[in-house]
């Protein structure tokens, strides 16, 4: 057992930190990290700027093979990168392109698909969205009803998707549709990728409770998708969605983002007095902040363990650990947000933009966005069930 980084890894970490230290100075005024920050009118240009800068450095897809723009970086280096990226609350890494479809194509795509789709992701020339959930197929994704019917060499897609983060900005979409109506549930589904400019694709924004509009609905109305855009086998899409879900689930960035938030909160409590006494001397405040620091440190070890298990190719253990880390990190993040606004009292409720907002109103913002993080990408309840099924071998009701 050894918890230290090698001198090379320390140097790499420093290089990442120096980069973000400089680049984050381009942050727009009143910009707050989060899904809204990535996709809003104010945030999107900054997101694209950072993506291009990261691509220039060759850092967007470091774990990928060299021929597709990466450098075969080991998992531990990716964890360090995610750690630093999260700490600086930096945008630029497309969670869907870099995080999900890229690794999926790398794993199961054809040579042609790799050549066509991986380089634009590595160069930050093409952004992606995910088209999985539907109004009546959320946690129970296998009950989806979007259909794809073969027509010559193409497939014709019809249906409605929802909760599509950043679909209004995306160039391409990866989606799943029923291709064999005779089969039930997870059988007879096919994994497609498609150009969002295809005729018949329309995107309608969904306004979230915090006023942001990063979620969307996508409607497919006779959308024609060529056969070469099927990922994997026809009717074999389900297994690929399951694999896709397991990429990039170490949650390390959330832990380090939470750590950044805590540091700012600690500083605030040192500098702010309530009834003539610094908040930092209030025993209740001290203990709440200490507990968050402890929780974050536990979370960091849990995240690094996911990466370590992935590196060892202990796939099932890694999947279960990743689900556990996802629940833990998103719930912890919410505790950080809530603790922040509770310590700030009335000031905690003031949104960014006001002269009365504390710490740019980021805790008010975070408090409203964290409920979404506990739902997106698998609810806490589904994640816990996966830990029980996959990690502990508890029986599953079919």
């Amino acid at each position: 057992m050894d918890f230290k980084l090698t001198p090379e890894q320390e140097a790499l970490k420093k290089e990442f930190e120096d980069f973000f230290e400089v680049e984050m100075k381009h942050e727009p005024e009143d910009w707050v990290w989060g899904l809204e920050g990535l996709f809003s009118d104010a945030g999107w240009p900054f997101n694209v700027y950072m993506a291009k800068r990261l691509a220039e450095k060759g850092w967007l897809v470091r774990p990928w093979p060299e021929e597709y723009g990466g450098c075969n970086a080991p998992m531990i280096e990716q964890l360090i990168f995610g750690d630093v990226l999260g700490y600086y609350c930096a945008p630029g890494v497309d969670p869907l392109g870099v995080g999900m479809i890229g690794p999926t194509i790398l794993a199961v795509g054809t040579e042609e698909q790799k050549k066509e789709h991986l380089p634009p992701i590595a160069k930050a020339e093409r952004f992606w969205c995910q088209g999985w959930s539907e109004p009546n197929a959320g946690s129970d994704l296998a009950s989806l009803t979007t259909k794809a019917v073969k027509d010559g060499d193409d497939w014709i897609l019809n249906g409605q998707k929802c909760w599509n983060t950043g679909a209004h900005r995306a160039d391409w979409c990866f989606t799943i549709a029923r291709t064999n109506p005779e089969e039930r549930r997870s059988k007879g589904l096919t994994y497609f990728i498609l150009d969002m400019k295809s005729p018949g694709v329309s995107v309608v924004p969904i306004e979230s409770m915090d006023g942001s509009k990063h979620f969307n609905e996508i409607y497919f109305d006779d959308v024609r998708v060529p056969s070469r855009n099927v990922i994997g086998e026809v009717n074999g899409g389900w297994a690929i969605t399951q694999a896709t879900m397991n990429y990039e689930r170490s949650s390390v960035g959330i832990m380090s983002g939470a750590s950044r938030g805590l540091n700012e909160l600690v500083q605030y409590c040192k500098e702010t007095s309530l009834r003539g006494k610094p908040l930092s001397q209030n025993p209740h405040v001290r203990h709440r902040l200490a507990q968050l620091a402890i929780d974050i440190e536990v979370g960091r070890t849990l995240s690094y363990r996911v990466g370590w298990l992935q590196e060892k190719e202990d796939i099932m253990a890694a999947a279960a650990a990743a689900c556990g880390a996802k629940v833990y990190s998103t719930e912890l993040w919410q505790r950080v947000a809530f603790t922040g606004i509770e310590i700030m009292g009335l000031y905690g409720t003031v949104a960014k933009g006001s002269k009365w907002a504390v710490l740019k109103g980021q805790f008010e913002d975070l408090a409203q966005s964290t409920p979404g993080y506990k739902l997106g990408g698998g609810t806490s309840e589904i994640m816990r069930s996966i830990v029980a099924w996959v990690g502990l071998g508890l029986p599953r009701i079919k």
């Binding site: 902040l289 440190e297 070890t301 849990l302 370590w308 830990v387 071998g393």
Partner: protein, 378 residues
């Protein structure tokens, strides 16, 4: 970075697991909780043959020369087995303290005895104030010719009733305030005239004692470390003991989890295993996070301590977290087991009781949160 055990550690873990499963069944644990001695010389002797008492002691003192991290691996298994007896007090509180502060003569005299299982030790640190703060040390040691004379009461001293030697933490400076200055350690023969030991009845039957020192004479040569400068030694040992306790606790938490998952798979209600119900599955998933979280925060602290790196923050983070996690795990374990787990005959109560006993030992979660707050600069 490597979050796995080395081959040697894995071997140690496996040997310990197999040995304790055979030699330390829960029936023995329960028997020993009621027994006044609290251990059997048979099991103690077998552990000594395996070299466990000397595992983390240097080879020159008949130890195995392994690291503190290795000791943590062994302690995790002991926690899993709820091993009764004076291993922790002898090795962690006794042996490591002598190794830290003893002079050559003392090391030569005591460490081989400890390694051979021929001496039982403990540390008489806490007093009726029940605090791990230097200010709480009031038991006095007064010089008198070639001896020191110790008077006062120590409380919550594990295994004092069977200890051959007590490392007594005393105050040797009059009017020196109540801080770290003026604290001195003595190696006291457990059978010295003037020592009275009373066994307390506690939640886990873990042999906590009250000791009264009534003008107990200790030869000056039994002073451990420098006069008046004993607290830094105590602080160092407390750090190790705290991590060591966490290691024991994760062993217990893992056992409670394993037992609960196994029961959830076999217990049938409403025509199916209760482990197929989401409520039970989610309890189990929460237990996994608590156990895994405990394990890595503890081993991170153990690694730092083992490497001699500063670890104040990490140790306190570990104890604050593990204290509450072990409690949560045993509570959920009880929920999963239902009524059967509430019975004295069942093994679940062993873990619940030990979790509750371990919570305040070497500082509660609140105590350690305060240290973390200080370390955060608050």
């Amino acid at each position: 970075m490597d979050l796995g055990f080395s081959e040697e550690q894995e071997m140690l873990r496996k040997t310990a697991r197999d040995f304790l499963e055979t030699e330390c069944p829960t029936s023995l644990v329960k028997e020993m909780a009621e027994d006044e001695q609290g251990y059997t010389s048979e099991l103690w002797g077998k552990m000594a043959e395996l070299g466990w008492m000397g595992l983390a002691l240097p080879e020159e003192h008949d130890g195995m020369g392994m690291s503190f991290l290795d000791l943590a691996v062994l302690l995790e298994e002991m926690g899993r087995a709820c091993l009764p007896g004076p291993f922790f007090s002898t090795v962690v509180l006794g042996g490591l303290t002598i190794l830290e502060a003893g002079n050559e003569e003392q090391k030569k005299e005591f460490l081989p005895k400890i390694a051979a299982g021929e001496a039982i030790l403990t540390m008489a640190l806490t007093e009726p104030s029940a605090s791990y703060d230097p200010a709480s040390i009031t038991v006095k040691a007064v010089p008198d010719k070639d001896d020191y004379v110790i008077s006062g009461t120590k409380l919550f001293v594990e295994n004092a009733h069977i200890a051959d030697y007590l490392i007594c933490v005393t105050r040797t400076k009059d009017g020196a305030g109540k801080g770290e200055d003026g604290i001195t350690l003595f190696l006291v023969d457990g059978k010295s005239p003037g020592i009275t030991t009373t066994l307390l009845k506690t939640i886990a039957g873990d042999k906590q004692c009250e000791i009264t020192f009534d003008n107990v004479r200790v030869p000056q040569k039994n002073m451990l470390g420098e006069r008046d400068k004993g607290w830094p030694v105590v602080a160092k040992i407390l750090q190790k003991a705290t991590v060591a306790k966490c290691a024991e606790m994760i062993g217990g938490a893992q056992a409670a989890l394993d037992m609960s998952v196994a029961y959830a798979k076999e217990r049938i209600q409403f025509g199916r295993p209760i482990g197929s119900f989401q409520a039970i599955q989610h309890h189990c998933a929460n237990m996994v996070t608590d156990v895994d979280g405990s394990r890595f925060i503890t081993y991170q602290a153990a690694w730092k301590v083992s490497e001699g790196l500063p670890a104040v923050m990490e140790v306190s983070m570990a104890k604050a977290w593990v204290s509450e996690a072990y409690r949560r795990v045993t509570q959920l374990g009880h929920q999963i087991h239902g009524g059967i787990g509430f019975c004295m005959d069942h093994d679940m109560p062993l873990y619940f009781k030990r979790a509750k006993a371990a919570e305040p030992t070497f500082g509660s979660a609140d105590w350690h949160r305060e240290i973390v707050a200080r370390e955060l600069g608050l």
